[in-house]
């Protein structure tokens, strides 16, 4: 320990070890949080069409259009170890073709410090609600859930579903033409 280089090396190694330990403690302080919160979803207009899915094969698949209301207060979920919440609205359903289908219709990023009180009315989905097939028409059990992925500074990335899912049915008939909602 009598050269600048060996002293610098020791200090550097020690700093790294201490920082790693501190980061682990940072993770531990928020590891026990359950991140749960109640939410409220309502669905307004629901129509289904059968159109060519331009992003995949040339087949015609079912395309759902819905508008929905969303209320949630997620302010209490934020803490010092949380960088952001990635919110996403999922539609989950079963079709004869596929046992399980999950499609994200809408998402939002809320960074720490931003307003986390949501109150949306008649929101359109951000992404196209295409099915992999023709399983949406007349589907009796489509469940909408709002979930969030907690992105911490250090630690695990849990996915939590909001308490309060909403189930709706698609109509038995396709809506023809260019009808929009």
């Amino acid at each position: 320990m009598n050269t600048v280089l060996s002293r610098a090396n020791t200090i550097f190694a020690f700093t790294l070890s201490v920082m790693a330990a501190l980061t682990f403690c940072c993770f531990l302080t928020t590891a026990m949080n359950d991140h749960l919160s109640p939410i409220k979803i309502d669905v307004n207009k629901i129509i289904v069409k059968n159109v060519q899915d331009f992003s995949t094969t040339r087949d015609k698949n079912d395309l759902g259009f819905i508008t929905f209301d969303l209320q949630a207060d997620l302010q209490h979920l934020f803490n010092w170890n949380m960088k952001q919440l990635f919110l996403y609205l999922t539609a989950e359903y079963t079709t004869p073709n596929n046992k399980l289908n999950q499609v994200v219709l809408w998402d939002k990023i809320i960074r720490r410090g931003e307003n986390a009180r949501l109150d949306y009315r008649s929101l359109h989905s951000k992404y196209y609600f295409f099915d992999d097939g023709k399983g949406l028409r007349g589907n009796q059990n489509v469940t909408l859930t709002l979930s969030w992925n907690v992105i911490p500074n250090a630690g695990t990335l849990p996915r939590i579903s909001g308490v309060g899912a909403k189930t709706f049915q698609f109509p038995e008939e396709y809506t023809p033409g260019n009808a929009r909602i």
Binding site: T23, F27, S55, T56, T57, K83, Q84, F86, Y88, T90, N97, N98, K99, L100, N101, Q102, V103, V104, D107, I109, R111, Y127, D132, S147, N149, I151, P152, N153, A154, G155, T156, L157, R159
Partner: protein, 149 residues
């Protein structure tokens, strides 16, 4: 006297070689051990470019790849497609699973305006289970020495 001095020199040489090999082999053992523990080809991965919000260059991700851990929409996955050498870390936004377990996935980076179909090789519309390297379980931020602002 000369011979014993040679022996001492030889021992010093062996000792030096072993001291060099020890940390190297320990590192390899730890890495392989992690690979076994997580069942994942790349148990720890460093982000080299953006695409996911607030996950910057230099963040470390811990991944796992257990076959009895089902994939859900909203989870961040590490995947690799043919033709691209670097694995990509993006979120699953669409999932269709058949009765026999066959999976079709679509991914998208949080910050990107469009989904990843353009990244998949021509002719491949969906990601399959074999494209997935692992699921991101944890993050350890800020390990880079230079992070872009």
């Amino acid at each position: 006297m000369k011979r014993s001095s040679d022996q001492i020199q030889l021992r010093k040489l062996y000792s030096r070689i072993l001291n060099l090999l020890l940390p190297m082999t320990s590192a390899v053992m730890t890495w392989k051990g992690l690979m076994l523990m997580t069942n994942c080809r790349i148990p720890i991965i460093v982000l080299v470019s953006g695409g996911m919000a607030d996950l910057n260059r230099g963040d470390l991700f811990f991944t796992s790849n257990f076959s009895d851990d089902p994939i859900h929409v909203g989870e961040t996955m590490v995947f690799q497609v043919e033709g691209r050498g670097i694995p990509i870390i993006h979120r699953v936004i669409k999932l269709h699973k058949k009765v026999n377990g066959e999976l079709k996935l679509l991914t998208k980076g949080d910050e990107n305006p469009v989904d990843d179909r353009g990244l998949y090789p021509p002719g491949q519309e969906w990601l399959r289970r074999e494209n997935i390297i692992g699921k991101v379980q944890g993050i350890f931020c800020c390990c880079a020495w230079e992070t872009p602002y």
